[in-house]
């Protein structure tokens, strides 16, 4: 871990405590002795007992006023904004409302209540899978996303808004953490479900290098960014890359290569269970490179304890344990 500054914030607010990074992050901070306010529409059952809860619905039009009021009253010094859809839903408008407008509410509240630090969850998906990507994308690389992935396009919009916000409010230290696909024993996302299919459909003729991040390492990175790591935009990724075929081989999984055009049609398969959004873009992320260069993030926020391979093995072995229990 990079050396943290002495002025650790005493009160931290976390949005999206029902989501994966938010809940674990709130628990971690509370265990460390920081006063944590979890903000969400209702208290999730899984939330640790030490974490205080304050109701806040980012979909409300007056959410920024309520948040600003709450921040000044409680003396919040840092906000971790993790309230994003973990995966797209069929309702694009609602997704956008939460992801983009919700983030704007948080930014406005930070400015109004003079919160010193804002840490926002983003994703390396914003770089987009493009055949002309270099093997490693650094933080300055243009965010090209994927035209068909509306959730990714929303995240790009949030990043642009954050850039504007940073220019207008130099008093607020803003950190953006871009994570790749996050896996681990707890993960239950469209990506983890895709990789858990009995036969994994893959695009024929492609075998891209993939990069992962362990869920615990994501929490570590957020903790470091909140508690005094240098502000900035960082790729938070596990060291090492592995080809898709190697991942599946390591898990002992069968794969079914299908022509890319056919896969896009069948794209509903992995997400059939929860979401109606045809993730046509998903298979493009399994065709072309979108690996990020994590060196800057490692220096600022510490090196993750799991490599990409270890992350994958942790995910696979936890899944195996569940199956045999």
């Amino acid at each position: 871990m990079a050396s943290l500054r002495s002025s650790e914030p005493a009160v931290v607010a976390v949005t999206g405590p029902m989501g994966e990074p938010g809940g674990a992050l709130a628990a971690r901070l509370a265990a460390r002795g920081v006063r944590v306010l979890a903000l969400g529409p209702e208290r999730p059952e899984s939330l640790a007992a030490e974490v205080e809860f304050r109701p806040l619905d980012l979909l409300e039009p007056a959410a920024h006023e309520r948040l600003a009021e709450l921040c000044s009253k409680e003396g919040v010094e840092a906000i971790a904004h993790t309230a994003f859809r973990s995966e797209p839903t069929p309702d694009r408008e609602l997704d956008r409302e939460l992801d983009v407008i919700g983030s704007l509410h948080v930014m406005n509240a930070c400015a109004a209540a003079k919160v010193a630090r804002l840490v926002v969850a983003s994703s390396t998906l914003v770089y987009g899978p493009w055949p002309d990507n270099p093997n490693f994308l650094d933080e300055e690389h243009p965010l090209r996303g994927h035209p068909e992935a509306h959730a990714v396009q929303d995240r790009i919009e949030v990043e642009h808004e954050l850039e504007r916000f940073r220019a207008r409010h130099p008093g607020v230290e803003v950190s953006v953490l871009r994570c790749p696909w996050v896996l681990g024993p707890r993960s239950d996302t469209s990506v983890s479900r895709y990789f858990s299919l009995p036969v994994v459909p893959v695009p024929m003729g492609y075998d891209p290098l993939l990069q992962l991040l362990h869920e615990d390492d994501r929490v570590d990175a957020f903790e470091a960014a909140l508690l005094g790591g240098p502000a900035g935009v960082y790729n938070v990724v596990a060291p090492g890359v592995l080809p898709l075929s190697t991942l599946l081989r390591l898990a002992g999984q069968r794969s079914l290569p299908l022509p890319a055009a056919l896969l896009d049609r069948l794209a509903y398969i992995p997400s059939r269970s929860r979401t109606g959004d045809p993730p046509a873009a998903f298979y493009d992320y399994l065709r072309h490179l979108w690996v990020a260069d994590g060196s800057r993030g490692w220096e600022a926020l510490g090196t993750p304890s799991y490599s990409t391979k270890e992350t994958w093995m942790s995910f696979v072995s936890a899944r195996r344990m569940r199956r045999y229990r």
Binding site: P131, D132, P134, N135, F136, D138, V202, P203, M204, G205, Y206, D207, P208, L209, G240, V241, L242, P243, S245, T246, L248, R249, L250, R254, S255, L256, P257, A260, R287, H288, K309
Partner: protein, 329 residues
């Protein structure tokens, strides 16, 4: 854990291991245990003549083949740019054969190269990256470390080609990749002519085209690596291009579809290169270390250096052409 629990735990572990062994045996039934081999042979004698179970093994292998179609059978680890050392080892005998017997590659100037990572800049020829493979092979034989070779975008974006090329050390041609490789101590073979090099007409095959925007010089400067001009002769005649079909090529994402004496007339077989005689000449490295530190901002200087580099490569090509008695050597 307490002392008394240890024997009980040992027994538990032993049992778990035995269970694992049983499971492994049941999965790999093709290697029967010696004890059970004899009775099974006996059973087969009085079984009906056509035994379905005999089909099981070939069927399984067909199924496995089908499941991994379009992917390499092996799933070994690769390095950060996707090169798989085992794939390279598997290919080495073939590369050696191509290098020694088929193209009878002769190399000059390789001994004089400095230690450490190099940026090798060569003339581009043909659509397929044979020249990059052979230069990398020559350098590896002389120095041990295998340089990566840059491959144009359109080829690195092709399905089936892309994963295979990456496994044997190809990287997409872009300054970011070259710089990263040089900084991590690996040499790179680059072809700054780009698409212009691959698409030049046969009669101008050994006229080196303009070098992009001076990217090679910039990368060498930034990466602090010596810039080595390389001239390759023979690769052009391996695929003499008679005609470029641009219409059908566009649908495939290729710059053009080559029509050679053998392709597409003989189908995929026609894509095999001809056994021409190759020469690879390595020139003297550019002394970039003597430049001012602010040279990176001097566009004029960079483009002059870039042109100088092109002239060097052209001279090496001419020299190699003179040294070669004929196309077939």
């Amino acid at each position: 854990m307490s002392e008394s629990a240890t024997p009980a735990r040992d027994a538990e572990l032993r049992e778990a291991l035995a269970g694992l062994r049983r499971e492994i045996r049941s999965r790999f039934a093709s290697e029967p245990e010696t004890a059970s081999a004899a009775p099974s042979r006996q059973r087969r004698a009085d079984a009906p003549r056509f035994d379905l179970s005999r089909l099981e093994k070939p069927l399984r292998s067909i199924r496995q083949r089908a499941a991994t179609l379009g992917m390499r059978e092996h799933a070994h680890e690769t390095d950060d740019f996707g090169m798989d050392p085992e794939a390279v080892e598997a290919l080495r005998p073939w590369l050696d054969r191509l290098y020694d017997r088929y193209w009878r590659v002769e190399v000059e100037g390789l001994e004089a190269l400095p230690e450490g990572p190099l940026l090798l800049v060569a003339n581009r020829s043909g659509l397929l990256p044979w020249d990059g493979l052979m230069i990398a092979h020559a350098v590896e034989r002389a120095r041990g470390a295998r340089p990566r070779f840059a491959v144009a975008d359109w080829l690195m974006a092709q399905p089936f080609a892309q994963p295979r090329l990456a496994r044997i050390g190809a990287v997409r041609a872009c300054p970011e990749n070259a710089l990263r490789l040089l900084r991590s101590g690996r040499s790179v073979v680059a072809f700054p002519e780009g698409a212009r090099g691959a698409t030049k007409p046969f009669r101008e095959r050994y006229r080196v085209q303009r070098f992009g925007r001076g990217g090679a010089v910039r990368v060498a400067l930034e990466g602090g690596a010596p810039l080595v001009p390389v001239g390759v002769v023979g690769a052009e005649e391996a695929h003499p291009i008679l005609y470029k079909a641009t219409g059908p090529a566009r649908a495939l994402g290729l710059p053009f579809l080559p029509v050679t004496p053998s392709f597409p007339w003989f189908g995929p077989l026609g894509a095999l290169p001809l056994p021409t005689k190759w020469r690879i000449h390595f020139g003297e490295p550019f002394a970039l270390g003597q430049l001012r530190p602010d040279a990176l901002g001097d566009e004029l200087l960079l483009s002059r250096l870039s042109d100088e580099l092109r002239v060097c490569v052209q001279e090496l090509v001419d020299e190699a052409l003179r040294a070669r008695p004929s196309v077939w050597g």
